[in-house]
């Protein structure tokens, strides 16, 4: 079992130990579930009782936390205890121990280029002209079409499919079942009531440090590129249509759909099950509540929206309250009509 000392944790996270720097932990837990071999963390002063009652061996706490009470164990003060906790998880307790080397029953076309320290899993397929850069991890049953680039250190989990000509940056993570570069949904009516397929000859470009959840569909562009900018985080079961663009560091929750040619700005936060119509722009820093329907441009940056059709958050809440009072309002209108009738008569 892994043993990590307070000194090592302080070193990794840039924190300062208060207590015994040689105390060791071998697991991580929430404050209330921790034991003497656990590392835990505490960010929100609201929960300080949990901190003072914890059985943990070491707790990461905010650098500016002050109290008259005696600390229950060795602590490490850092600016951002949650992030520090993540760093420890990532270094010492991450279950994702990626493999290296090429497993049997994998297919690599003759002119594909495979970097160093790459993992090519069992049953994976790398077609002609593709480039897998150093340290990339291609899990079993992944498909990489022709002329694809997979950047350094990027992880494609089992069963990811990448169609030809797509580009995936460095240090990305793409989860199982996600499809990159399937055809955009484009058909031209041809008079007899049927449709001709519009060939989708563009691609998908995913920049660095992007994470995409499982079972997402990111379609290739008709011409040009569907673009996922650096640092974007997409949850599961998300649809991104042809020629859409998601701006840097935008975060989108599960089951949301972005229609064709729509451009979402930087650092937006989008809830789950949201739908965006096609061909609109959404300003930087926009925040959108779950299940919203964005049917028009959002031009002012940094605003909060919700509803289908979408409204500014405050207006939506005000409207929702009144909608629930509609039976009462209707009754009051009937009452008014009666009174008017009476007044008119008299």
């Amino acid at each position: 079992m892994k043993q990590v000392s307070a000194a090592e944790i302080a070193n990794l996270t840039g924190g300062t130990v208060f207590g015994q720097s040689d105390v060791q932990i071998s697991r991580v837990d929430k404050l209330e579930e921790a034991g003497p071999l656990s590392l835990s963390f505490f960010s929100n002063p609201k929960y300080q009782d949990r901190f003072f009652q914890t059985q943990a061996g070491i707790v990461l706490i905010p650098a500016d936390f002050q109290s008259d009470r005696k600390f229950p164990c060795t602590v490490i003060k850092t600016l951002n205890p949650y992030y520090a906790f993540c760093q420890v998880l990532d270094r010492y307790f991450n279950p994702n121990q990626h493999k290296s080397g090429r497993e049997e029953q994998s297919f690599v076309a003759e002119n594909a280029a495979i970097g160093e320290d790459v993992y090519l899993g069992f049953g994976s397929y790398i077609d002609e002209g593709s480039v897998i850069e150093n340290g990339a991890k291609i899990y079993p049953q992944v498909y990489i079409g022709r002329n694809v680039r997979v950047g350094a250190g990027t992880v494609l989990y089992p069963g990811v499919k990448v169609y030809s000509d797509c580009v995936i940056g460095a240090q990305c993570i793409i989860h199982s079942g996600t499809v990159i570069g399937s055809d955009g949904f484009g058909f031209a009516p041809i008079g007899d009531g049927s449709y001709a397929k519009i060939p989708q000859i563009g691609n998908v470009v995913i920049e660095d440090h992007v994470e995409i959840g499982s079972n997402c569909s990111i379609d290739r562009a008709t011409m040009g590129s569907t673009i996922i900018r650096k640092g974007v985080k997409l949850d599961n079961l998300i649809q991104v249509a042809h020629n859409a663009e998601i701006g840097e560091h935008t975060v989108i929750a599960a089951q949301t759909g972005v229609s064709g040619s729509t451009r979402i700005g930087k650092r937006c936060m989008v809830g789950g099950q949201v739908g965006f119509v096609g061909h609109i722009n959404v300003a930087d820093g926009t925040q959108i509540g779950a299940q919203s329907g964005i049917q028009k441009e959002i031009t002012e940056p940094g605003q909060q929206w919700i509803g289908s059709p979408v409204m500014p958050l405050k207006e939506a809440f005000r409207t929702q309250v009144i909608v629930r009072k509609l039976p009462d309002l209707q009754q009051r209108i009937i009452e008014l009509e009666k009174r008017i009738q009476e007044l008119t008569k008299s």
Copy 2:
């Protein structure tokens, strides 16, 4: 072709034959499409005309069904004719003839443990430390990560992906494309506008007798477990986020999403395209209509809800009726204003 007699069906289903117990059927059909070689069933007295006109060879009917009219064929009386029909389907007409044995081109890590009567399909992958219990059926192109347990008699259809450390109970069915244990969606902002990944070191625990449809995403917990309790039935394209819990025998229709740390009670029925916000509890026996948005706790058990935001069913229906009358109500307000104006003048 399979031939089954009325006596065999009565024996399997605990029913009683009225008519010839040696009559044989070789197929199953609806009452109105049945012929002399068909078994059919009849539950709802509303459809008794269909029963009396059927050409079926044998019909399963309710034990308490009374009529002055002559039965059109041999019948078998049982308490639950539909369930009895399912039993016959399952025993004699089920197209799912699972294979056994290990097909070529499958990968099993040296220290994985494979039970008896297991099927390991072509292109499947079982990583280190995993245990596949007796009678489990691992179809082609399935991926099983490290230290996974797959319970006895469980069926994983082609292309299911199970990440490391997940636990799947006995007698479960998981359909193609479903991903179990992909990372929960957790990121900590790190000040410069970008995000750090929060390692997701928990797992997914699926108890016995669970069925999960195709292309679902069930994320692993940040710490601890995302839990699907025994007897749960999930339809297709469903999202279950990290640390969520779905209670025993709850049934959820397609394209619904359950956000992080939300706990849904036992024996709930949830419609399609529903969304649950994170960190709420939903009481046992709750019924939720399609496309609802559950944005708050539901504490009273056994109630019916619908809408986004969700309302009690009756209130929602009343409100919907008034919403459709809004143009009329607005007109009546304008009318009232005019009359008041006139009255004030006079």
Copy 3:
């Protein structure tokens, strides 16, 4: 690099060259991004300025386009320039160069029948009794169960899963991750609060010229068939439940769900994230806006609908406008009540 002359394009598309018929292009671009080696097209007179300013080498224009201004380059007049452009893309610039022949590590059961010019990709699986007709392209990691038929020229992209007994027509395209024939969602309560699985012994029938996007779930029928009629186009992440039927040339956008036994007519257009309840009919030519909830029959053909619950389009827009005015209406009711009070007193 491919070189195509105006004469060749005119020949392919049935158009007429005005200008030099020997001018050659080697790429395709939008009017405003085109250079001397580009083919472009122009359909909408609204954009004629872009046409007159283009740097393109050849432009496809409408047969009836008239102007006093001098054309900027060689043009080809056709009845439907966009469709003609698609024809050129498809013939000369399509990146989908499908392979032929059987790759290593593919599995074909002994009594499966494989036609001529078929591609069987690495890691694909064709089970007993299945028939793959001439020119079909089965990409890597595809699974085909027992007794499946895949029609001539049909393309199944990497990772498509087709369960036993399903039928796929000719000239279809099915994108990665889509599952055809997983079990319909059918369970019978058995008294103790748990459910018995209703065996799903039907199949899925997909007619000719159907395109289905990535990560869709098309469930097999309980008995009989779930049917996708000829020419239907489905986008990504769509749910089609057991015994549903989608009529000829109907087009459905991403993330929509069709519940069990619902029949959608011919030539309908359905937006994204729409939900249909089960057991209803939707008339031919119906158009439904995004995020709608169709909770009842639509009997009149060719109408436009939107909303959840759905309303005729015009009524929905009128209602939406009033919903946004609700705070104002409430205020006017309060005002009226005050005035009545004053009038009653005086």
